[in-house]
Amino acid sequence: MLRVGPGLAADFIFCPVVRSFSLQYLCLETMDSCDTPESTPRQRASSRLKDYFIGATPLQKRLESVRRQTSFVPTPPRRKIPQCSQLQEDVDPQKVAFLLHKQWTLYSLTPLYKFSYTNLKEYSKLLGAFIAAEKQKGLAVEVGEDFNIKVIFSALLGMKGTQRDPEAFLVQILSKSQLPSENREGKVLWTGWFCCIFGDSLLETVSEDFTCLPLFLANGAETNTAMIGTWFQKTFDCYFSPLAINAYNLSWMAAMWTACKMDHYMATTEFLWSVPCSPQRLDISYAIHPEDAKALWDSVHKTPGEVTQEEVDLFMDCLYSHFHRHFKIHLSATRLVRVSTSVASAHTDGKIKILCHKYLIGVLAYLTELAIFQIE
């Protein structure tokens, strides 16, 4: 294990400038607006025509958004540093505590068709019966019958980035104790939740029949996830896909989470690189004191409140060059597979653990962005 001290970067400035920011998280650079000096008469005419001919139907908006994606760099080159949001404070703290410190497997989810928040009770019953039927293949069960499991759907009020984001919700599978005297609500067998944080780019492409909750997080046996996912797919015509996080996005996470201002650090900042060599894989773990990592970040950080691609690259390069100086290993030739910070930790397999209550929304916002990117 290697400790990287603050003396690493020469122009190190120890002055964490964090301003207060607006809620808007995603800052899409509209490059064309500054590149074109002025629109010619013809362009004006054609844009008018375009408005006329291309109606504002969701599908056409989708097309627009696809065009936008293909014509620019797929990921926006700059993002805001996660901030504590007002909305998050409305969330039931008990529920938030329940979501923290657990390992979640990530999935992207296409919009749910005809999902209704008023029917959560009904869904609990149907899903319960479905699971019971699946578990005892071939034996039919009545919906609403008493099984030894219990399904609870509940809304996670306030878990959103903007008011436009649909409400997040939680699904829990509990085992029921056989003994009536004991606590009837037994232990939690499986938990999953659906959310959408700053999902504007997806929201504007679908009609009102759809509910966009592109990020799904599951904790529990994979077989349960499969069963429940199948029910959702059948019932709401949606599609779950595992959401992996590539090295590029992991380094973004490393930078953004390091940039978060913390009252006290709970965990070491740690990177895990994997060297693909046979017969055995070689993993390189690189742990840094969180305050040192922050100091390094501050030294490369220029744009207040924002993280740019340049800064992310520089941050990682500093780590690489330091490592190379000591061990003569080019980490840039290996693959980043895990990032752990005091805010959260993420694995390239699509597993995440969120540690810090304050930046929960910020972390989810980035994951939502990745999920939307995968389904578009």
Binding site: T40, P41, R42, Q43, A45, S46, L49, F53, T57, P58, L59, R62, T110, P111, Y113, K114, F115, S116, T118, N119, E122, Y123, L126, A129, F130, A132, A133, E134, K137, G138, L139, A140, V141, E142, V143, V206, S207, D209, F210, E222, T225, A226, M227, G229, T230, Q233, K234, T235, F236, D237, C238, Y239, F240, S241, Q374, I375
Partner: protein
Amino acid sequence: MSSQKRVKNSQSQGKPSQSSNSYQTNLSAWKVKEDLSDSKSISKHGQNNPVEDYEHADDKAEDALQIAVRYFEKGPTKTSRSKDKTLEKHLKTVENVAWKNGLAPEGIDVLLNVALSGKFGSAVSTQILKCMIPATLISEDSVVKAVSWLCVGRCSGNTKVLFYRWLVAMFDFIDHKEQINLLYGFFFASLQDDALCPYVCHLLYLLTKKENVKPFRVRKLLDLQAKMGMQPHLQALLSLYKFFAPALISVSLPVRRKIYFKNSENLWKTALLAVRQRNQRPSPEPLKLMLGPANARPVKRKWNSHSVIPVLNSSSCSKECGKKGMSLSDYLSSNGSFPLEQLKSFPQLLQNIHCLELPSQMGAVLNNSLLLHYINCVKDESVLLRLYHWLSQTLQEECIWYKVDNYEHGKEFTNFLDTIIRAECFLQCSVLQSLKELLQNWLLCLSVDIHVKPVMNSPLETTLGGSMNSVSELIRYVGWLSTTAMRLESNSTFLLHFILDFYEKVCDVYISYNLPLVVLFPPGIFYSALLSLDSSILNQLCYIMHRYRTNLTAAKKNELVQKTKSEFNFSNKTYQEFNHYLTAMVGCLWTSKPFQKGLYIDPEVLEKAGVAQYKSSLNLVYHPALLSYAASFLLQEWPEERTVNLSSIRGKKWNWYLDYLFSEGFQGLKLFIRSSIHRSSVP
């Protein structure tokens, strides 16, 4: 004897025809007659017997059957010692006729009554039931009467079992099922009888409609299941109930089982085949007895196991639950929409297009050509979005997971791609439609620009000529695309319709958009349309040719007026091309002189095909798309004529024929003839 027979026959004819089915019944009766005459002629050749003899024999058999039926109807006589012998003789007669030609509905009516009343004892009832084979159909009334006997308790358990098996086997030949469905409660109650249960389940499986699924029945079935365990017949019925009312019940079927009912119709296998042949319709049954194999798919390597296309299920609770405050009874009685599982034919689709239920998973439409038709014309964004999301995710996941070494998976993926490609004729049509809209938008854009600013000011095309070149390139590209598509889809009429739609835009560019451009279609499209078997295609082609003519004429006129040689004058080639097409068309439709130049067919081939005179055999009368019109024209105008003499359509008749065609909606043809043919040259 023969008089009695006649009476019987007239009875069956005089019987009040049962509403819509009368036509079918008559038709099938006619078919039987034809079959008989066929077999006669065969036997004539084989045995070298005089015809009358055979007919006589046939009559005899018929008469014997009448006697036998009357004998059974009257009931057993106590006295005679020869009772057994007579009974045996009559049974034999009935059996012979039944297995040979089947029994008429009246015969079945009487004999069913006899069998279930148990007059002759259980053994005879069994024998009678076994030979209850319809000639064509079974009347619903007979079945209802027979069921009423079950309540009296006169027949043995075995007879009941046999009767239910018979009912299941013959289910498709019962002319109506409404009355039988009213007895649903009675059948359902019979489930309690352990011996009957499997067969009653099967019958209910065939009979159940959405409105038959009630909470109390669900509970009863679950009780039975608790009592008897995991019985395949109960599973089948329960899963059907779940299909209709997912909010009431949940069941997950075991992986491997596919057949849920023992073959109830084993006894009648050959007879069933014969009846189906007589009725001349494809057998719908075996399919119904299996729940689709995809219903019971194993969970595979990953849980997104529907790399395969999802099963077609009507949208279930997502829709029902979406409506707030909908009670269970509302839900059960909602029959405003047309369930998908009943959608079998195109006319059904047309009749119910306004109230069609959509599948719960949109991906399922890929396996259903009727629904593909539907989503191809429906402009519902959510339908397309659902399909879009499903397809893009599936493709993405399948491509990533695709491993060449995994044979099974590789095969599955190829099958999936095949299905998409098969659905592609629709996609091709949609592509063409989009291209048409693109062209339209572009043309509108250009035509507006022309008026705003005479000189183009755009980074892409600086001159009108440049723009026109780009547009004509697009049109030629679509022409090339269409020709290829036509070849791949072996001249699909449906596709051709969309292609011609595109050219309906193209031919009118000069006049409608005031842009100096006329591009003709490629020969591959023109000749396919000209020789199409579909009259609407021909009509569309005529209209397009008419518009081309109008546009070209207008262009020529302008050129003459302006006199200046502008860059937008069309080359002579365009005019020549048009004239060439026009000659071919007039030759094929009017002058009976098709393809005067540039076509050579080996005379020997023509001789063999019997159309040595082909040159005079192609005009408005003989054109394959219009032949039926010519025939119905003659039949309508001269119904007294004994033969349809197509060559008689000449002179005055030719003109009447034209008027007839115009009245049948050939407006394109009308315009074409008015503009392109000088009527002095009536052939």
